[in-house]
């Protein structure tokens, strides 16, 4: 178990700046996720922590020891690769035993620990198979067993579920969570899937173009995004460019397309803003203390038990998600519709130049 600290990590590849100064603090026994779109630098961060790449600037600490330039083989931060990187010329047993043999453990000890690892990932009886004789999910379990068997200080998982089908993905997700809880090790997890990140993590760092946008628990990240990017990245949401037209202390009135929303909380000085409203927080029924905006129905999308109504407000499309019941049956494309929005569900964030 280890605490990981990154201070001002900068990494460039030729002309491109991959990481623009990353500060992170991952706590003991935490399952911490780096989340972001492809190319945001999350894998580079992971590789730097694993010792497979080295930063141009900045420092990396495991507990109080600086390991920035320590070689990968001496770090004890073991990585499970996205493609699993199982050695095709070795059996499952030899793959898992590899790290133990490197550590020159006695033979009985190796056997004991490989057995333990196989049990942990529920692969007893597969010792003599070769990786090519395993399914994707089994290969991944071997990769995880191979990493865990050396009792790493830190387990690094690089998009571990991206090569699995949807059903297996859910299964392995809870499996990883179970193992992490059982062993109580610190895990750093990398993914581009926000749903996966929210389901599995203690805390999440959302990354974008080489920077960390926000660190927090899944709930914080989802419900209180600090930036426009985080808001738009975490699930389907309405991000509407708008302008502050009135201010009174922390309360502002914003305007978009001739629609005004008043009494919203906003502290930043920038008058160019976006308003963020989750589709499921928009009501099609009148509610108390809500702002009401009326526009045209542009499109109705059926998902079964819920529907999404795309309303057209001037030129702006806003999505509302609602239970598919009798109350919405009257809606027709091009017909009139009123969205009711609770002010507490509206976030006003400064416009980001993306």
């Amino acid at each position: 178990m280890v605490e990981v600290k990154l201070e001002g990590i900068v990494k460039t590849f030729g002309e491109t700046v991959a990481l623009k100064g990353i500060d992170l603090h991952i706590k003991h026994g935490e399952l911490f996720t780096l989340l972001g779109p492809s190319g945001c630098g999350k894998s580079t961060t992971l590789r730097i922590i694993a010792g497979l790449d080295f930063p141009d600037e900045g420092h990396l600490y495991f507990d109080d020891e600086e390991v920035t330039y320590k070689s990968s083989s001496e770090r004890g931060a073991v990585l499970v690769f996205q493609n699993y990187a199982l050695w095709p010329h070795m059996t499952v047993y030899d793959n898992i035993a590899y790290g133990l043999k490197i550590r020159k453990l006695p033979k009985q000890e190796i056997e004991k620990r490989v057995k333990w690892a196989l049990e942990l990932v529920k692969l007893q009886g597969y010792e003599d198979r070769y990786p090519t004789q395993l399914s994707g999910g089994q290969q991944q379990r071997v990769a995880i067993a191979r990493a865990l068997v050396v009792e790493p200080k830190l387990l690094l998982l690089d998009e571990p579920l991206s090569n699995l089908d949807a059903k297996l993905r859910l299964e392995m997700r809870s499996e990883i969570r179970r193992i992490q809880r059982e062993l109580g090790i610190t895990v750093l997890y990398v993914t581009h899937d926000q749903e996966e990140a929210m389901a599995i993590s203690d805390r999440i760092a959302v990354m974008n173009i080489g920077q960390i946008e926000q660190v927090g628990t899944p709930k914080e990240i989802y419900e209180e995004p600090k930036t426009e990017f985080v808001a738009s990245f975490m699930g389907k949401t309405n991000v509407i460019p708008a302008e502050v037209v009135e201010r009174e202390g922390d309360k502002v009135t914003v305007e978009f397309e001739n629609f005004r929303l008043d009494g919203l909380t906003y502290k930043d000085k920038n008058d160019k803003v976006v308003i963020v409203i989750r589709p499921e927080r928009i009501s099609l029924h009148p509610i108390e203390n809500a702002v009401a905006i009326t526009g045209k129905v542009d499109l109705i999308e059926y998902y079964g038990f819920f529907i999404e109504v795309v309303g057209l407000f001037g030129e702006r499309r806003i999505i509302a998600r609602t239970i598919n019941d009798k109350d919405v049956a009257h809606l027709r494309p091009q017909g009139e519709v009123t969205f009711y929005i609770d002010r507490n569900d509206v976030l006003v964030l400064p416009k980001q130049s993306l």
């Binding site: 497979l52 080295f54 320590k70 073991v78 690769f81 990187a85 010329h89 550590r103």
Partner: protein, 614 residues
């Protein structure tokens, strides 16, 4: 430890690692010392006159009508009459002077092989016909290298009473007169027949690798037949065809076997390769600046062709643009006129071009071959003699030892250089990548001359390492070095391809789990590329056994330590032994080559990978 900027720049590793540095420096230094420096040492001699830097030798070559003869002299074809009163056309070619002759011959051979190779490749890639498997196997036969003897058989085939006149004049009466091909025309013929499968293999691979949907789309838009071929298929295959053709150009330029065999006609001697060779043989011990200059001219032509094709192919990698998906190969039944073409033109052409190798085998098992169509009298005396006579066996043992030693070096060089260039992105990577395949572009005779000047300059005067030594030069080291340099590209390409198939994460996973780089290479990388290394090693071995240029020059100074090819050349040039013994050695080489092909195919389950330039 802190990041080392110069290590990152040079070797692509932010932390300096001796093993990685070695992977760069060992092959780099080896090639610089044993390829670049020897060749450059020749430059020094070629550009020196009266102790000053001068273009004198180049000027004297380019001004001399012996070297440049414009307009050309002689008659391309002469009409003669045989003793029996039949008319005979003797084809020898025109004399453009030594330098231009080499160029003209190389260009003609390149064009002929390009056409023949492309036609064969297209037919094999796109049509189903009876006997296709025979074609497939037969097309490999001309690739079996039997130095000198196969050119000898070609000379016999196209002589006055040879096989060609027998079939086309006496039996079929297609030719109203007899023909005889000699001189430069004979050289062109012998080279074209031996080299066209190189274009074939490269072109075939190109045709096979074209995404069928590209052609289907063109058809869908209304293109058909020759228009489709001209506008889509051919342009996509052109980089591969051009790469194969360039290789042929370089091979033709440096070839010594055909000129040596046809040297009875003085015109065949007027080629750069032969001139360098003969001046070396007859003016031994003399460090002639004129020869150095001629070597430089030859090298320049080969290198220009090599760099040109690399640039061209590099610019046109579009054949690989397509996305995945399973390809349904475009194979169809030939139309009647195409069937006719296959059986009436391609089949005879194929039979003629595989005859030399068959002829070599017949020659090895026969008593004599003088004025008859085929060799006469079956005997196994020559095979026996090759095995039992210690004077002949010695050459075989020498070649085995030199080739074996060279292969060990080649494997080490291939693995280190491929590891460095495929895994790290230091500024030395592209340098190393180019220098490792550079030997393809350096004619063997130029390597031989470079070594001659280099080793006679740096070794003590009468030491066994000095080619001008009076007390017996031992060519072992020089030959091993020359083989290891000249045949390196074969193995290096194979190992590099293997490394590219092994994802780098397999090595990272090992190091991440605590293994050192050395342990990772030994335990993970080498087992995964061993088949590629083995295949490459076999190929290098086979072509070291049949290496000609260095073997018949430096290798023949001291016959006690000479390789097989030096002995074969002796037989052909001095009539010291019988040609049948040379043919027996040719058969031995064929056996070695076929064994290698079969073993590589069975063990690595890969197609026998022949040479390409890309």
């Amino acid at each position: 430890m802190k990041v080392s900027k110069w290590s990152e720049r040079l070797f692509g590793t932010p932390l300096f690692e001796p093993l990685v540095a070695f992977s760069y420096i060992f092959p780099l230094l080896y090639l610089i010392v044993f390829l670049i420096v020897p060749v450059l040492s020749m430059l020094l001699i070629a550009f020196t006159y009266d102790g000053n830097i001068s273009l004198h030798w180049f000027k004297s070559i380019l001004m001399d009508s012996y070297y440049i003869q414009l307009p050309p002299q002689g008659e391309f074809a002469q009409k003669l009459t045989t003793s029996t009163g039949e008319s005979l056309y003797l084809l020898r070619g025109l004399d453009f002077g030594v330098v231009l002759n080499s160029l003209v011959v190389a260009i003609l051979v390149t064009l002929l092989t390009a056409i023949l190779g492309t036609v064969f490749a297209f037919v094999m890639a796109r049509y189903n016909f009876k006997g296709k498997n025979f074609f497939r196997i037969a097309l490999f036969i001309p690739l079996l290298v039997t130095p000198f003897v196969n050119a000898y058989v070609i000379k016999q085939m196209f002589s006055e009473y040879g096989l060609i006149n027998y079939i086309f004049h006496e039996v079929l009466h297609i030719l109203p007169f007899r023909i005889k091909i000699d001189g430069l025309a004979g050289v062109v013929l012998a080279q074209a027949m031996a080299y066209y499968p190189i274009v074939y293999l490269n072109a075939y691979a190109s045709f096979i690798n074209i995404d069928p949907t590209l052609e289907e789309q063109a058809e869908n838009l209304g293109s058909r037949g020759f228009h489709l071929f001209r506008t889509v298929t051919f342009p996509l295959a052109l980089p591969g065809i051009a790469a194969g053709a360039t290789l042929v150009f370089i091979f033709s330029l440096e070839d010594l076997a055909a000129p040596v065999v046809f040297h009875g006609d003085p015109l065949a001697k007027k080629l750069m390769s032969y001139q360098i060779f003969s001046k070396f043989i007859y003016g031994l011990g003399e460090r002639s600046p004129e020869i150095a200059a001629l070597s430089i001219i030859m090298l320049a032509l080969a290198v220009i062709a090599f760099l040109g094709i690399r640039k061209y192919v590099g610019l046109r990698q579009y054949a690989m643009l397509s996305k995945g998906g399973r390809w349904k190969p475009r194979i169809s039944e030939p139309k009647p006129w195409q069937t006719l073409l296959i059986y009436l033109v391609l089949l005879p052409a194929l039979l003629i071009t595989i005859f030399p190798q068959l002829g070599v085998v017949m020659l090895a098992f026969s008593e004599r071959w003088t004025t008859t169509v085929l060799p006469q009298g079956f005997t196994i005396d020559y095979i026996k003699e090759m095995i039992l006579n210690p004077d002949v066996r010695r050459f075989i043992v020498n070649s085995l030892v030199y080739s074996g030693a060279a292969v060990i070096l080649i494997v080490l060089l291939s693995i280190t250089s491929s590891y460095a260039t495929s895994r790290f992105k230091g500024i030395l990577s592209p340098v190393l990548e180019s220098i490792v395949i550079l030997p393809i572009a350096v004619p063997g005779i130029v390597v031989a001359m470079g070594y001659f000047y280099f080793f006679s300059a740096i070794t003590p005067e009468n030491s066994p390492l000095n080619p001008t030594s009076l007390y017996g030069f031992n060519p072992a080291l020089v030959l091993i070095l020359a083989y290891s340099i000249r045949r390196l590209p074969f193995a290096a390409r194979s190992v590099y391809a293997g490394l590219q198939q092994v994802h780098v994460s397999l090595e990272e996973a090992s190091m991440n789990l605590g293994a050192s780089r050395w342990k990772t290479i030994i335990g993970i990388l080498l087992p995964l590329i061993s088949l590629n290394a083995f295949g490459g090693a076999m190929l290098s071995f086979v072509y070291s056994m049949s290496e000609t240029s260095v073997g018949i020059t430096l290798g023949s100074i001291n016959m006690a330590q000479a390789p097989i090819t030096a002995f074969m050349k002796e037989v052909l040039m001095s009539a010291a032994g019988s040609i049948n013994i040379a043919a027996a050695l040719g058969v031995l080489l064929i056996v070695v080559q076929i064994t290698a092909i079969v073993v590589v195919n069975v063990i690595t389950k890969q197609r026998y990978s022949f040479i390409g330039l890309t």
